[in-house]
């Protein structure tokens, strides 16, 4: 029946629930912003870092290493130039190269990128902790008009093995520049990977060449439709150029040497990049923006904490009588301190826990949307040590920031004596 000091602090706070709720919400929102930024940052980074592994070099036409990385791996942006087929063949024949997989980009299907490649791609492309691509249904392409689609593409467009589809020239919307004279057929659907592969339509390089017969000027030659499929199949469909080449080496130790050899190749200007290093450069650029964002959200937490102090200080007047009564009934200065600090710390604790909950809820709702619209897979947005540390930190900081209010309350309760002032 008796009531503890913490019980008193709790009941007192309940008695002022409206202002307590506002303080709680401001702390919760500030913590949610901070954790949201922090988690989105690390999750996006983990997502990017997980996209490609096991590929030692990516070779393309000279541009910038970030540019090459973005278009070859993330299907963002476009290649400015291509690599000739003989160069690919020479590269693949190098003694230090274990495998070389060419890719050809440039077409699309209902907003998804189309990538021409060789069946070896499914052996060598790895993501995450060297995980291989797996087929959920069907198998790799055999015929030049076969297509293998990513998990998300299959889900979004409702395709299954056997579905026919028509590719679009370039990245424009479907319609005028469709390759509708050369329909493809889905033969395999990949299991989800959480990488841009999920949003990619894979076809054989020969298929890319075949559907571009008659498109040499960039638009459709009206005569192209007169060429029968059998005739096209009889052509040499080896591509003249490819967009980029994924390379695996026999020995990792030769990485820098091989890279230098490719970069200084006399026959054709080339750029070879190390994916991890290019990612590192990308993050170095994004790092500053991240730090600014983190600093801002840190300041927002400070504002949330100040709101605790504000609410404590403004509550002191209405609590003056309460403090006097407690002092008169035997409360020592320590009790008054505990009463005030418990309120500050309690608001910090409850507010930050609420903030953690808000962020979890937010990612639960936003993750699928982000993946669907931007192909960004957030990894590791669940509860982590960062959440725990933030809750601890905010609770501790709130208790510390409550100290001035506690000292004011103490000083007043001593100065007021027993006189209960209204």
């Amino acid at each position: 029946m008796g009531i503890s000091i913490l019980g008193l602090a709790w009941r007192s706070l309940l008695n002022r629930w409206a202002s307590a709720m506002l303080t709680l919400v401001s702390v919760a929102l500030s913590v949610a912003l901070f954790l949201g930024v922090e988690k989105a940052r690390t999750a996006a980074r983990a997502g990017f870092d997980n996209t490609i592994s096991g590929t030692e070099l990516i070779v393309g036409a000279p541009s910038g290493q970030i540019n090459l990385l973005l278009y070859s791996v993330f299907r963002l942006g476009n290649a400015t130039a291509e690599v000739s087929w003989p160069t690919y063949e020479r590269l693949a024949a190098r003694d230090d190269v274990a495998w070389a997989v060419p890719i050809s980009l440039g077409d699309s299907h209902r907003g998804f990128r189309v990538m021409g490649t060789t069946p070896a791609y499914f052996d060598h492309y790895k993501y995450g902790a060297r995980q291989e691509l797996r087929f959920a249904r069907g198998d790799r392409f055999q015929d030049i008009f076969d297509a293998v689609i990513g998990a998300q593409l299959a889900r979004d467009l409702g395709y299954d093995v056997g579905s026919p589809l028509v590719l679009t020239h370039g990245l424009g919307s479907q319609g005028l520049s469709d390759h509708d004279n050369r329909p493809f057929r889905v033969v395999g659907i990949l299991a989800p990977t959480g990488t841009p592969v999920d949003r990619t339509l894979h076809v054989p390089l020969e298929g890319i060449t075949a559907m571009h017969v008659g498109w040499e000027t960039g638009t459709r030659n009206p005569l192209a439709d007169t060429l029968g499929e059998a005739l096209i199949r009889s052509f040499d469909l080896t591509p003249k150029t490819v967009t980029a080449i994924f390379v695996g080496l026999k020995q990792k130790g030769s990485l820098l040497r091989t890279r230098r050899a490719i970069n200084t190749d006399r026959s054709e200007p080339l750029l070879a990049i190390i994916p991890g290093q290019a990612l590192g450069e990308l993050w170095a650029i994004m790092g500053n923006a991240e730090r600014v964002l983190l600093a801002i959200s840190g300041f927002v937490i400070a504002v949330g904490l100040v709101s605790i102090l504000t609410s404590l200080l403004t509550s002191l007047n209405e609590r003056r009588r309460e403090m006097s009564i407690l002092r008169a009934t035997g409360a020592r200065p320590g009790h008054i301190l505990v009463l005030m600090l418990a309120e500050a710390g309690g608001l910090g604790l409850a507010g930050s826990l609420l903030g953690v909950g808000l962020v979890q809820l937010l990612f639960l709702v936003a993750s699928p949307v982000l993946t669907a619209s931007y192909g960004i897979t957030l990894i590791g947005t669940g509860l982590s040590a960062v959440d725990g540390l933030t809750v601890l930190g905010v609770t501790g900081a709130a208790t510390i920031i409550g100290t001035p209010a506690a000292l004011v309350a103490l000083r007043r309760s001593l100065a007021d004596g027993l006189t209960v002032k209204v």
């Binding site: 029946m1 008796g2 009531i3 503890s4 000091i5 008193l8 009941r11 007192s12 309940l14 008695n15 009588r321 309460e322 009564i325 407690l326 002092r327 008169a328 009934t329 035997g330 409360a331 020592r332 200065p333 009790h335 001593l414 007021d416 004596g417 027993l418 006189t419 209960v420 209204v422």
Partner: protein, 237 residues
Amino acid sequence: MGAGPCLDLEDLRFSWPGQAPLLEIRRFDLGMGEKLFLRGPSGSGKSTLLGLIAGVLAPQAGRVTVLGQDQARARSSQRDRLRADRLGVIFQMFNLVPYISVLQNVALPCRFSAARAKRVAAAGGVEAEARRLLVQLGLDDPLLLSRPVTTLSVGQQQRVAAARALIGGPSLIIADEPTSALDADSRDRFIALLKAEVETRGAALLFVSHDPALSGHFDRSIDLGSLNLAARAEGAV
């Protein structure tokens, strides 16, 4: 408890910072179990005197011996301890913590004083003792106990405050104008109940009021104006 007086003031002087002396008292005492009426108009320094006795204020000079402890020389923690363990205080009004129950209000001193909690435990437990006190002070309606304290009448609130002051067997009850917000009927009833309960428990009572009509209820009556040299000096000017 010892044989000495409950309260013994000698050559006490007190002034608020930067102000003229408010209190200057040569001698003032109160025996164990004595019920004393201290009369004084508002602003005469009554509440300050009670603050000095209760040990929340410290005098500039003199001796304030309460239950054997000189409050003027005791450390603030010792004064806090004496107040928590052995004093009971009743204010003019707004005595109760608004957001806890009647019983929790009555039990409050046992939370701050282990000595009081121990005495109450020996008497049958906090809740039983709180209920007993409330019944003896005329609050025997069980419905009353479940109501928020802010919905009680002022008279009822004052009796809850009296029960709180009395719980755990304090030796001295200090009442600062406890009846000034009450009408004549409930005032007399309150004083009668308080006196009876103080007597059964053997505590001393220092009852302060501006109303001389109440003095008849008590063993002895003193006028603060005649006691306080500072006030007399001021009056002479």
